[in-house]
Amino acid sequence: MSLFRSEDMALCQLFLQSEAAYSCVSELGELGLLQFRDLNPDVNAFQRKFVNEVRRCDEMERKLRYLEKEIRKDGIPMLDTGENPEAPQPREMIDLEATFEKLENELREVNQNAEALKRNYLELTELKHILRKTQVFFDEQEGGSSATESMTRALIPDDSIARQAAGPVQLGFVAGVILRERIPPFERMLWRACRGNVFLRQAEIETPLEDPATSDQVHKSVFIIFFQGDQLKSRVKKICEGFRATLYPCPEAPSDRREMAMGVMTRIEDLNTVLNQTQDHRHRVLAAAAKNITNWFIKVRKIKAIYHTLNLFNLDVTQKCLIAECWVPTEDLEQIQLALRRGTERSGSSVPPILNRMDTLENPPTYNKTNKFTSGFQHLVDAYGVASYREANPAPYTIITFPFLFAVMFGDLGHGILMASFAAYLVIKERTLGAKKIQSDVWNIFFGGRYIILLMGLFSMYTGMMYNDVFSKSLNIFGSNWRNNYDESTLMNSKALQLDPNSTAYFKYPYPFGLDPIWQVAENKIIFLNSYKMKISIIFGVFHMLFGVLLSLWNHVYFRDRLAIMCEFIPQIIFMCFLFLYMVLLMFIKWVNYSADTIDVKAGPYCAPSILITFINMVLFKSSKNPDVCDDWMYAGQGFLQKLLVVIALLCVPVMLLAKPIMIMRARKQHQPVLNIFLSPKLKSLIII
């Protein structure tokens, strides 16, 4: 009966032999039915018994994460077969450690080599670009320096001939490559530090180059700086070093440059082949690892979980065994015994483990067994508050009431179809979608609640048909039961006409299912529909609340709490029924007794009393005033009956609040303090429904 109540739990003590402990915990972990208690609460995390093993697992996980990062970098797909490997034995753990260590070392070595090669490659590529681009710069410098000539000509008119004869001044230069985004501050710094006595030319390298350390693509530019003198040279060099520009030796003569360029090209080609081979090797290593990596992750996590659990146990030094305390559902004790026996056999130990049931006064934990359908609703209910131990579980009722009440508010066939089909898609594809393990929070909310949304959609379709609402339009399936009985001229001359149900306009029997489509074109649709919707909402609400109170009765009977039945349930029922159920009754009476198609004024729409006003007057002890033509009351004796009901209901209030605490106080006159008597945990189930 676990659907309607939480499971019966027992506190058990488990005696495990140290050798068998690991296998037994592994088997129990696969079952997932126990909750272990921490028997070493005041021990620090790093002083627990199995902390070294946990550390080794952490190390293994770190290596696996490193491998995963490298695999992802290369874009190799990681195989996820969905299988669930068991936790390996401690002996195999050493093998796993060795494998990971080897893989990690190999990968680090390959990466280091690749980095060195890439660095070399980068240098050669940059040199190649320099040799190509600086050609332009040198051409300008050598070919008569037309720029410098024009500059000097105007300033020094006298000695111009002598200057020209001496030829262009001998400028020293450095060439290098720098990141493109560093060029503006670099230029500025050069200008300021050298007081404008250096000349910078730069050209962008179009193709992005690969940074060896981070494997990012970066854009760089070639620059060349001309200066005169050694002091400026050292200053320029310092600035280049500061901005992390790499300088390359660039020969002046064009023939030397061409030779160098060719040499560089051959070296680049050689390096390329070596680099490709290194990358292939790395790819092969990673692909081999990628086949097993998800399995390894699962195994390592299981080992870690087992050791974390073992850390909760108490080591009984005298008897070389571990003691654990756990909460177990009594139904599954057999299964657990089997699992323990399997574990002992696997570890090859001779001493069987002992599962000892303990009696305790502690409140056991609430455990609700769920399947994939009910788990969504159970989570929804638990979010408001987890029920106490062995209280009636509100979740099975929530499966229907929650989507239904949602649908009463949603009520549109068209939108309901959309919602239901979206949820149906999620449900049909749940295996593939679940395996994807998407991290987005919003997605997980929708996917986890797919059954809830499916039911909400289906119920909304039903209420949509009741309200005759498809994307805010009505469907006319059976033909309206109202028709127009005005003639052409009246229709043409009037802005608004009213169809009288007493006349031929109404067929005298209602539309078979749902709301008549005529209301879609009526101006007073909203007024009419509002009254109807409010009444049925109150009717549903009152019955829902009554159901909740009846559930609390079931709880009181189960826990044999006579006091609660007398002092809580009875006054609650009286209060609810005498006030709100009476109001529901009034609604039904009004629906039955009053109608729009009678001749009697007293039973017609003019005299039909407003339930709301009646109720308010009832509670305030005011007398109803109806217009003279109509009756004051809906039935004989209503005035007196109403006064009686309100008085009795009001008398129930102090009983609800004070009766039980006073009785308990009297019963425990000498003992506990008063404060905790007033809060009853059993009221929770009432509120959840």
Partner: protein
Amino acid sequence: MLGSFFNIDGGYLEGLCRGFKCGILKQADYLNLVQCETLEDLKLHLQGTDYGNFLANEPSPLAVSVIDDKLREKLVIEFQHMRNHAVEPLSTFLDFITYSYMIDNIILLITGTLHQRPISELIPKCHPLGSFEQMEAIHVAATPAELYNAVLVDTPLAPFFVDCISEQDLDEMNIEIIRNTLYKAYLEAFFAFCKDLGGTTAESMCEILAFEADRRAIIITINSFGTELTKDDRVKLYPKVGKLYPDGLAALARADDYEQVKAVAEYYAEYRALFEGAGNNPGEKTLEDKFFEHEVRFNIVTLPTTVF
């Protein structure tokens, strides 16, 4: 009224800040850490705090420098995140906080260059919060004027440098003077900024900055005994935003030894309390320690009431 607009710019950051504050290690954490025997134990315990798995990807065996770097990296990431989400005036406020680290970095780099250390060795030692673009080119400069013209003029520290420009070469003595002059200008600018903002910021920050100013004045005075720093030079280094301004500073300027400094502090109740019981004997707290404790107390007070 102002409170209703606060959340637009400051709501997210305030929530984040409160979260960080709750994650600060408590007395119980320190008691546990004291019981650790190896660095691995430390790592294991920190996994359970707000620090989480910050050391998860470090290969064992751990070294102290690795832990130090990772802790600092965590701080820098959090600070940068807040700075990136901040708008005026919070962004300027956070920038002001980074200026003190920038000043320290500059001085570190200049000192390193003086001692002929290669720039690549010095850069990793700089505090990441105080890094700026032109940092690596500092070793170019030989005099403060050059330093300013070449490097600092583009940085936010440029206005603080106005008093330091001189043609003297950078040497040991001058570097300290530069550091203290920069810091004085920075403190005064920060103080003026906070005062302008008004409200709780002015109340809390001006207290802290005033104490910082007085503390520096006292420490400079005490450290200058027995050095070549003249009394006039000393006066130029005192920040004018503390409680000691103007009378206390004038008295400090005339002081010749530790006792006279203590006598000046007697006039100010909080500072007298700090001088009592301070000494250089083992077992006693030094003056620096007492100043540090006092400063921390200020910072604690600002936490729950800060509304920016």
